[in-house]
Symmetry: C3
Subunit: 352 residues, 3 copies
């Protein structure tokens, strides 16, 4: 089912619960964008403003919303075209599944437990008492410490590092350069220097999590740092010690999360957001890119923006007020002039 296999539109329609309008026997080999699609490709359109472009596409089939006015000869009507497109791509372009192999250069502790159909690439290390579940790929150069548990069907990309004691669930994807379980950033100062606050906890990454390239998740100081099931985190994100990130959370690139922050299920966090420590973000909150949140805050459901964060509506209103500042200043100036004139008139009146 790797790219190159051919699947009839009818079969794809059954997979995504859609209705074919046109020739359901047409064979589809790949997904493609509206403009670059050619014969053999399926594409999708969701936004009405692209219906005209979708009518002109050279794709063999177009996923369209139910009843959409798109004129392509072969259409597949579904409730959510983009979702159906993603589901079809999972079939047409499954993740590369290399032949299982334990590369002769890898260094694996004698007591490590390696599952079935595992790929262990060149220059991989796996430490004592660690385990790797069935079907998992540990790609070239990844380093796994002692007492680490990696679940089934994971992809651990090149040069990832998993420190001692870390637990990784099933179907987890860790992109290249990810570091999990490094010491958290905590010190206690005396008169002369900084003493390391103990960083002896661990990290738990639950099932179906994906972490972007060069992202870092520190171990708990005393307890654990957790990334909940189905959460997706982008590149170059920092997750501090003892954070508890819930399920199905989405966090965009370069966001930084200080120690002991809780982000509940289903939150959406933009890029370059900064969290002070001990914040709790309640389920359903959405935090805009570049926002900053003060330590200890509780962030309620809703859309938040700015430094420090405020509800998006208030942020916009205040921003509009700021934009109008020059005008306010003009008005005040004018008022001063008018009041001055009133005062002089009254003064004159009194004299008379």
């Amino acid at each position: 089912m790797r790219e190159g296999s051919e699947i009839p539109v009818d079969v794809l329609a059954a997979h995504v619960g859609g209705q074919v309008i046109g020739d359901g026997s047409i064979l589809i080999q790949r997904v493609a964008g509206l403009e670059s699609a050619r014969k053999g490709a399926i594409t999708y359109v969701e936004d009405e403003k692209f219906f005209e472009a979708a009518s002109q596409t050279k794709a063999s089939c177009v996923l369209v919303p139910e009843g959409a006015d798109v004129k392509a000869p072969c259409r597949l009507e579904v409730k959510k075209p983009k979702l159906a497109f993603a589901l079809i791509a999972e079939i047409l372009h499954p993740p590369k599944k290399p032949v299982p192999e334990i590369h002769s250069s890898s260094v694996i502790a004698a007591d490590a437990k390696i599952g079935k159909d595992v790929l262990i690439g060149a220059f991989v290390c796996i430490g004592e008492n660690s385990s790797v579940g069935d079907g998992t790929q540990i790609r070239a150069g990844a380093k796994i410490g002692d007492n680490v548990s990696v679940g089934r069907d994971c992809i651990i990309h090149p040069n990832v590092f998993l420190e001692d004691g870390v637990t990784i669930g099933d179907r987890v994807i860790l992109h290249a350069g990810v570091v999990i379980g490094a010491d958290g950033f905590g010190y206690v100062r005396d008169e002369h220097s900084h003493h390391k606050f103990p960083q002896i906890g661990t990290v738990v990454i639950e099932d179906d999590v994906e972490l972007g390239a060069n992202t870092c998740v520190d171990r708990g100081a005393l307890g654990r740092t957790r990334i909940g099931r189905g959460t997706k985190i982008d590149n170059l994100v920092h997750v501090g010690h003892n954070c508890d990130i819930g399920e199905r959370v989405v966090i965009a690139a370069q966001t930084g999360i200080s120690g002991s922050v809780t982000i509940e299920d289903d939150c959406v966090i933009g890029g370059q957001v900064g969290f002070g420590d001990h914040i709790r973000v309640q389920s359903g909150a959405v935090i805009g890119s570049k926002a900053g949140i003060l330590p200890g805050k509780i962030v309620r459901p809703g859309v938040w923006w700015g430094i420090p964060i405020q509800p998006l509506d208030e942020y916009k209103r205040l921003n509009a007020h700021i934009q109008r500042l020059p005008q306010v200043r003009e008005e005040v100036k004018e008022l001063r002039q008018r009041v001055k004139e009133l005062e002089s008139v009254l003064l004159e009146n009194r004299k008379t």
Copy 2:
């Protein structure tokens, strides 16, 4: 003395200069947080609002401030409980000290000088004329260039890269993915393209420095980049060419420091702070997270905040003014109305 050793409370008390209230012969095996602590653990409390919780802890001993009203049966009174806790953790949980070994897969130049009791992990490279001090660990996959000096008792974590000519002091900890000595970011433009400004200086990391995962410290363009003794830097921080970071400075995650910035001793820098080039931060300054500092600024001692930075008090005052903007606008509107009425009354008066 690895985890699992048992130390009587009396011995710990002597180590941190505290007074035991209760049974000093109780054996302690590990540190733990107030809530998760069980038999065999020592915990601590510093803030009065947790005294009640500390009275209920299941820990075998609690570090408490002198004279604190905590009712746990075994208490250890000290001036600074958190500091004492860190000092005790250093004893109960010393850093893992693996058996010294030079892994057979490592590639070490013939003229490299390797000290005693050194660990060199799998897939490590050490270049020509480089040296590694006694007791240092170079973990799997770390790459060390030519003419690099690494001191004693350092921990160089997996996949760190030290470029040619870099100097690392004693007891330095470099977390996974750290890159030291890459070229600084400097170009001179002519009509057609950017020419690299020479990046031929070096980097000096002094004793007792700790750098977080995936942090980058560029080499000096012509001179050197320096990180002073005892300075602690978090994950994903960027330190540009020719920066001079003093001693005991603390820098939180994702902060970016442009070229030729000087940060004097004992400064504290938050996360995601941005420094323009050629800034000087004077000793004792504290810069809040997400602050931005314009090139060439001198930052005096005190607490600074915002973009561009201002003293925290002024920042708060201005922020309060901004929050009141809608009200000011209402007041101006109301004043306009009242002045208008005054004007019409006066006009009428004149007519009469």
Copy 3:
């Protein structure tokens, strides 16, 4: 021509089109800064305020602007001293050119095409059907996937990862820890979970690009991500899927670029800037550090600043207005008092 070779000032003058004032036969071995320069070094001065220092330098020769009042005994007058200094440094300090070698520990696919005079370091992997051009260095621990093309005279530093299908031009420099071609960050949500939007495109890095340490460039979702010829990007930058970065663009450290952003030729982007998706930055725009740009914006030529961005002049003007807010508030307060007095006077008048 590595450091240590000696070149007469006359030869350097011919190379950069300058005029020697003094003894053109003096031999130069290296470049250096004004203050640290000693015998055998050439230095430069461009800014008049350093002319006095340049007159005192111990360098054997100083590059100076034409007609500059600098009194050093050997001067080389040029139009642009800093540019000439960079060009001379290219000769005196060429990049290290190690002896070509394919390290015995490297793992290279049987069908990979390796050019002439290539260095392949220890623990390097090169996948199936990939190619490496003449004169290129793939340093220790770099990992190259399948179907990757790397051009001529590139330097791929340690622990870089190039994912399957990526194309790298000629003379490209990728600093340590760079990740190119990881999956972009795109998901489609259904009621239960996030489904990966297909991330099956590629990345094209054109000639003469330089990417800083630990920078990440994601592959296109369906099309490609492109970094144009001669563009220079600093450390820890994130470039999202399907971005199209033009030629000779400069991007400073820790900037984050969301998916499908276009940055046209010759733009200059500061550090820690954040781009929403689908932005177009027109050729010649300059965006200040820490700026934030909303999704879908078109950024015209000129200098931009702030969150959200505005022209630098407006930003400064508004910032000045904000600084004056306390004064405005005082003025309004005073006006209220004066209007109140006017009203009471009028009221009294009426009564009488």
